[in-house]
Amino acid sequence: MSEKKKIDIEYSQLDSERMRINVGPQHPSTHGVLRLEVEVDGEIVTDVVPHLGYLHRSFEKHCEYMTYPQIIPYIDRMDYISAMNNEWPYVMALEKMLDVKVPEKVEYLRVIVAELNRIANHQIAVATFGLDAGAFTPFLFYFRDREYIIWILEKLSGARLLYNYFRVGGVAGDVYPTFKEECHDVIAKVRKTNAEVMNLLIHNNIFIKRTAGVGILTPDVAINYGCSGPVLRGSGMAHDLRRDEPYSIYDRFDFDIPVGKGEVGVVGDCWNRNMVRMHEMEQSCRIIEQALEQMPMEGDVTAAIPKRIKLPKGEIYSRAENPKGELGFYIVSNGTDKPERLKARGPSFVNLSVIPEISKGYMFADLILILGSIDIVLGEVDR
């Protein structure tokens, strides 16, 4: 009797202890400086607590000191991977407040650069996702192709990453003569690499085994958490502002909204989120092709706007479909040339908050992949 009791005590002392691991801020796959406090039971994740703010650069405070055009460079630095898309909702808000009509050519040009940048963003997203899974080669293939996109954007705007290209009522640089050919060229390259990566990575059995059925996010939870972009669409919800609330001239183009269909695994898992991005690249290519066809090559690239931009007293919430989701700007104007308050609603910030919900119960290696499939940019999370 006493012998048995002793053994029981020993067994109870053998209980595995949970270990708290600090992932980040310096960790190769936190996509920047995110810190996750992970509690693991062996290899199983039991709890995740994200700690943000390692890149909190006081964006909103800066905006209170800046005039409206001066804010645009700071907005570039929010989501630095898709700077063109970032500038758009902000500029759109100002144009709506000022009641400026943007020239036709500018609208097309904006669509083209934004979609090019969307492709570049998704390339990085898929590439780093592959890197998290341990595949290094697709990462460099995508970065090689991204370079061609960057060259086009550089010729237009002058900068490689943070373009500061959009202006109120126009854009900063006109198209150059070989613009259309280069765009077509790039689209061909993007499609070729996509086909290659499909075989090399996406349909690789190891990759499928790693990602399919991992980190399942159901549409209800996604909506309640405010997710948007590929994260929401990967859950099978066809929510895209370009279609639901067509801003600019998106209603003129014919494109599909890719959603997670669950060809492999379950709708809403990492593989489907990633696949949505792959399909979105193709859709962006289609949009660019149509825009290039319809775009007038002649004409001015800026509308007539006052030299000193002063917004009327009021407030506006403007949103646009960013590669990562819905980017919103809430601008409160007090009638001067500086905003009273500017709040940015970053898609990554909101999408990241779903991490604790969907990563519990998976393995530690899966947590890295779930984080990668959300596609966050810390510049936008922390602002």
């Binding site: 796959s29 592959g130 899974a133 341990g134 595949a135 460099l140 090689r144 090399l200 190891i206 990759f207």
Partner: protein, 350 residues
């Protein structure tokens, strides 16, 4: 006078041999590791449409040399929280494990550092020492990532030893010897006499060719896992565990891990070459056959296996721990058992 004679008697004329046996593999390991490091850098670069190191010597061929010179100069850190003895011992154990395995590798029909009868057994026994080193290093670093890497590594090594051993045992059954030199001798002839294609024998061997090829693949996969290469590099999986068990190691101690990894790659390739690819035999009968050429053939064959290892590394994503275990226990082990059984039956009724 008496004492010198005693020493002379002890080592005797074998002193030169002893030196050759010790120094040649060591020199080979060091030079080979440099070449392999460069090969990895260059091949990975070419796969990714890059050039790799270009500015260290012509086409960057001196890059590994520069790395060694640099690593020798680095400060030797022993973290405060680590348990010092084990921390400092681990790299040496791993390196000596990898180096000791070279003792039984038949480089040519004339040269083999130690021709022992249980060569294959010895390799497997020595190869397991590196697992001990990894656990020591991972635990002694008192870093959580290192610990997790070490734990993963042990489970991985243990589970993949068995399929690898089964594959090797099948060849042992076929050749009825554990002596690597004898196994090599048995495969003399043309390339269809290799054990990859059933070994020497009459036409009846076609029945076991599928099994030997399967075994070769199984052994190759298991050897990847034993050397912690992608897709089985979870003990040091960069995106998960920062650098795995060697997270806290730097400088010369890290260089030992670094060298041991590449040395291990060569060891498993050499075993693969010996038991499946005919060792130092020329693939075309008497063409360039001989002790001197044997070294060339052996190194050529082993390097192609090392090349495939590098090539696989830069192609495939990484497994997860449980999938790794699944592959080891539920796929490789049954498959290798079936093949072992089939080959044993064949040998029985031949």
């Amino acid at each position: 006078m008496q004492s010198t004679n005693f020493i002379w008697d002890l080592f005797g004329v074998n002193l030169l041999t002893v030196v050759a046996v010790v120094a040649l593999p060591l020199g080979f390991v060091l030079i080979y590791a440099l070449v392999a490091i460069l090969a990895e850098l260059k091949i990975s670069a070419w796969i990714q449409e890059r050039l790799g190191p270009m500015r260290t010597g012509p086409y960057g061929i001196l890059q590994p040399v520069a790395e060694v010179i640099k690593l020798l100069q680095k400060e030797d850190i022993t973290p405060d929280a680590s348990s010092k003895l084990l921390y400092n011992l681990a790299p040496f154990i791993i390196f000596s494990g990898a180096y000791a395995a070279f003792a039984v590798i038949p480089f040519s029909s004339a040269f083999m550092p130690a021709n022992i009868n249980v060569g294959l057994f010895y390799v497997f026994a020595i190869g397991s020492i590196s697992a001990m080193g990894i656990v020591m290093g991972g635990w002694a670093s008192s870093n959580k990532y290192s610990l997790m890497g070490a734990m993963r590594s042990v489970s991985q090594l243990i589970s993949y030893e068995i399929p690898a051993a089964m594959a090797v045992l099948s060849i042992v059954v076929l050749s009825s010897s554990m002596n690597m030199q004898e196994i090599s001798h048995a495969q003399t002839g043309y390339f269809w006499d290799w054990y990859l294609f059933g070994g020497p024998g009459s036409w009846t061997k076609v029945f076991i060719i599928p099994f030997t090829i399967t075994l070769a693949i199984a052994y190759f996969i298991a050897s990847l896992a034993e050397t912690n290469r992608v897709p089985f590099d979870i003990p040091e999986g960069e995106s998960e565990l920062v650098a795995g068990f060697h997270t806290e190691y730097g400088g010369i101690k890290f260089a030992m891990f670094y060298f041991a990894e590449y040395a291990n790659m060569f060891v498993v390739s050499a075993i693969f070459t010996t038991i499946f690819l005919g060792g130092w035999n020329s693939p075309f009968g008497e063409f360039l056959q001989g002790p001197g050429w044997g070294v060339m053939w052996f190194i050529l064959k082993s390097f192609s296996i090392v090349f495939v290892q590098i090539w696989v590394r830069w192609t495939l994503p990484r497994f997860r721990v449980d999938q790794l275990m699944y592959l080891g226990w539920k796929v490789l082990l049954p498959v290798s058992f079936i093949c072992f059984f089939a080959i044993s039956l064949f040998v029985m009724f031949k």
